[in-house]
Symmetry: D2
Amino acid sequence: MKVTVAVVGATGYTGAEIVRLLAGHPNAEVAVVTSERQAGQPLRSSCPWLATDLVLTRFDPCGWEVDVVFLCQENGFAMHHAPSLAERSRVIDLSADFRLTDLAQYPAWYRLDHPGGLEPWPVYGLTELADRRALGQARIVANPGCYPTASLLALMPLAEAGIVAGTPVIDAKSGVSGAGRSKQETDFLFSELAGGFKPYGVTGHRHTPEIEQQLGMTVRFTPHLLPIPRGICSTIHVPVTPGVNADTVRGLWRSRYEGRTCVAVLDEGFPSTKHVLGSNRCLLAAAVDERTGYAILVSVIDNLVKGAAGQAIQNMNLMLGLPEETGLPLAGVWP
Amino acid sequence: MKVTVAVVGATGYTGAEIVRLLAGHPNAEVAVVTSERQAGQPLRSSCPWLATDLVLTRFDPCGWEVDVVFLCQENGFAMHHAPSLAERSRVIDLSADFRLTDLAQYPAWYRLDHPGGLEPWPVYGLTELADRRALGQARIVANPGCYPTASLLALMPLAEAGIVAGTPVIDAKSGVSGAGRSKQETDFLFSELAGGFKPYGVTGHRHTPEIEQQLGMTVRFTPHLLPIPRGICSTIHVPVTPGVNADTVRGLWRSRYEGRTCVAVLDEGFPSTKHVLGSNRCLLAAAVDERTGYAILVSVIDNLVKGAAGQAIQNMNLMLGLPEETGLPLAGVWP
Amino acid sequence: MKVTVAVVGATGYTGAEIVRLLAGHPNAEVAVVTSERQAGQPLRSSCPWLATDLVLTRFDPCGWEVDVVFLCQENGFAMHHAPSLAERSRVIDLSADFRLTDLAQYPAWYRLDHPGGLEPWPVYGLTELADRRALGQARIVANPGCYPTASLLALMPLAEAGIVAGTPVIDAKSGVSGAGRSKQETDFLFSELAGGFKPYGVTGHRHTPEIEQQLGMTVRFTPHLLPIPRGICSTIHVPVTPGVNADTVRGLWRSRYEGRTCVAVLDEGFPSTKHVLGSNRCLLAAAVDERTGYAILVSVIDNLVKGAAGQAIQNMNLMLGLPEETGLPLAGVWP
Amino acid sequence: MKVTVAVVGATGYTGAEIVRLLAGHPNAEVAVVTSERQAGQPLRSSCPWLATDLVLTRFDPCGWEVDVVFLCQENGFAMHHAPSLAERSRVIDLSADFRLTDLAQYPAWYRLDHPGGLEPWPVYGLTELADRRALGQARIVANPGCYPTASLLALMPLAEAGIVAGTPVIDAKSGVSGAGRSKQETDFLFSELAGGFKPYGVTGHRHTPEIEQQLGMTVRFTPHLLPIPRGICSTIHVPVTPGVNADTVRGLWRSRYEGRTCVAVLDEGFPSTKHVLGSNRCLLAAAVDERTGYAILVSVIDNLVKGAAGQAIQNMNLMLGLPEETGLPLAGVWP
């Protein structure tokens, strides 16, 4: 089997990452790459790290004959274009446009009015937690946010098991690529960020409602900006019911993720974001602080791979009936 | 006034930082620098960034005629040597040897038996929270740990005001220099740490009892290693009593630190560790998450300056009756 | 076809990188991984970024039934062990032990007495410059050094064309991983190197004779240490014969590397080491400074991939009659 | 003595650095800070690392009563404004507007028509090489470029001694802050530069004519961008006359810089840019490669201190008759 793929918005970080990853995929080939501003130019002009002769075109899907479309655009694009694209291709949207099921939240968190109108609603593609059959049949998949991916993979099994005894405190840290490639602002210049670390979106980050929707409970969430391009570490301090220890947590994770190749539970020690650089894996580790009654969950991913492009391909694989890790690197690039 | 100073352990990061900072101090001059391994060599052989002709000697205090001794040694040294040094000089100890008043905690947290025997016990030199008169008279000052400095400056005014309504969750992040200069281990090699981020000491870091002793309450504390040499950011999620908002917190801080030049409360926004690189300031910012009832306190310092060498000099200044910021940089080195 | 592979010294940076890269290779499988110090432990204990269940063993090749052996040991190991290994397996040596054909140079540059005795002498595996038939028949391949790889790919076509009119000045810069994983020395600690840059081996680096041997001329060579884990940039200032311009240089490169997928010549602009992070490509760019009569050649590689593990696999591919880029990533990991 | 100072363009990197450094200067006080875009706001809004209450104003020098004006504007500003400012204040210009004495070069290298008309022409303020008396009397000083500072301090004593036997090859590397704070372009984003290294301005950098004008000879010059905010390393490969060795070079440097506190010649080893981070020193080291007849000179500075703001203050000190290092840090911030 060989499917053809369009990447809409191929010169941004997630779009280009899809092109990079699919170069190693045995069953998919990129046929179309789009960019409104660079149309007509070779993709490697904007992305010299890609070894490709693909030429950028405008977004003009009429003549496309592709099996899968990856949408890597700003929020507000997919909500208008995905439905018609889905008539001819399977669509995986990497924006936030279909992540929230309560459309009333879009104006509040994203300053966007959502047209809605989709039936059925796209599948939320946090791959290991999604329904495999639903993914297999989905016309549109909403690829999750990077922070929700890292946080929910750690938290959900505990929530499902009913051992969460209070508000989880999610203290998350992300590499700068999460901000995208078009932030031509002083705050994102190399010299301003190198060698420093700071919080942002301290009480109002947009991934908060996404996490809460999936988890079914309120969370305390603050992200920070790491002086590295890639990597997320989510440190979750969660009050747990009495008697829970680290083995309890690891046991829940192991049951939930049995047979899943892209999530690994550490027997001991704690992971670095660097362990998963360029990899589609999520590494999970836990401790319990008996003095305070908290479990501490640590979840690391590469925000552009398992947190975006890689998970999108993982979803594509399941949509196509392939093993989920097909064509995806599991080892990290170290050092 | 010009005092003379000895720096014991001058080739480590905190010792060398004291030498660097005192080069700009109008009232102090370094007369003695020690190193057991490099004795006889110029200090600049081990520390080529220092512009000095000082020559290293062994620790042999008999003939010293210095007003102030800074002890920058491993834990376990000062507890044996500070008492006799204190007979002739004022002593500021940068190790953990006098930070805990409950000596029974040393075997548990530091694997050291403490000889005790000091009367009065050294003053805990978290400068802005210490008693000025006690500092002025102290023969020995216990310079606080870097994490406790950042965390307590943020938390203490809230604890004193009685608005802490549950266990504070301290999620702290530090630059690598906190580990010291003698960690010749694979884990601290450049290639292993550059571009990554990880937690460590997840439930059992030694600064936990130090914070709890000062605060008088239990805390949930986990530190992380930032891929930068210097800087601490302590993000503290603290349940607060109803009605508390960000202005409440800033008001408490402003009252507590009125007239103190080394602590600044931000009116808006949140600080980066880079704002205080090389500076002796602590920057504080706050938000309140009304959805969850938590205040989020952010405190940044340079772990080697306000978190170690700078605060030691700040303490020296008060011991000598000088303005506390004498000779200390307040502006950060940016970018 | 599926060959089996042994990696001798699998916990170092180059050995682990071979394991990582072969995970994506369709025709090779790692069967044996060795480490004297970690024997008996899973490889992932020392290398948690690798997604593998392989268990480390001692170097005990008697019972091995592997087609290919990669030797990733310190200099001085392969010269004694490669000959007997080569009786049963194809051997690719990543040390310097067979790079120099004049054995008298080993005591001078490596402080090693070389036993010699090999007939024929191993093939120098700078893949694009090596004889394909010789590689196809070789029992032992000497994988080149990282600096020679970057420098010779740029310089050799000019030398062959006879347009080099004076001593080439090679000013090279490398990421820290080139120093290996066992440098537990102060000089290689994160805090000492982060945010800085310095030369080393200013007049006497060991890669000098390797470059000169291949090039057949004397070169001026100084390397520097970049504050990044991976990447080499070799900037070569070379006096050229009159009339040579950038097109001349690009033309020579294009002829020499026609059909070779792992070397790319840029039409315009200059590359960053980051364009080839994790990739087996070498990017070449040129300018001519007419005011001074110099051509400036810029060559970037990932020192651990095209400069070590990737090129070793590229050599294996040609030894086995596979396309040279089989299983090797050509796109860089960006950002 | 206490002079008052205006900093024109105080929110850029060099302007803010002057404010930072003057905070520790015993004889100067910043009275005016300007910014056209941020006028009316406190300086700390744009520069939160500065511990100051200064408020930004527009450039409106009519009412100023300041002794010294530092001009930190884009090229093209000072050539029009410095002459009138110089009637009332001493002026130090950090742009390129008065660095070249041959005005015909401005259109070619800077795309600017220079109005000229100054008599006498401003003093070129490479402090250690400038005429002290001329500096003491100068109304306008042209502060040198960062690359020329590092390169000329190394090369000039050799050129003066007549031992340069061929075109010097200057392979220079700079931290990103050299590009300034207003480069809101993709190429200068953190994610694009972190972990990479590349050349730029390969044959046509604007500092070339500045170096050549001072040196009186043609040079081969290529700069590169280091993934660090601050620091320049200039590695100069210079053909030397027979018999010259490293001691010869060090001897020339020592004679030339005797008594100068901001230049240090290393007895052995080579410096890192990190040794001078935040410091106003230039460190020089040399080797001679007898095989090729080249001397290799290594010169490191902090591009924002000795390469810009610090040297400007050093010039101010000599203009005012103060010791040149007054108020300037000589030790580097390490690690």
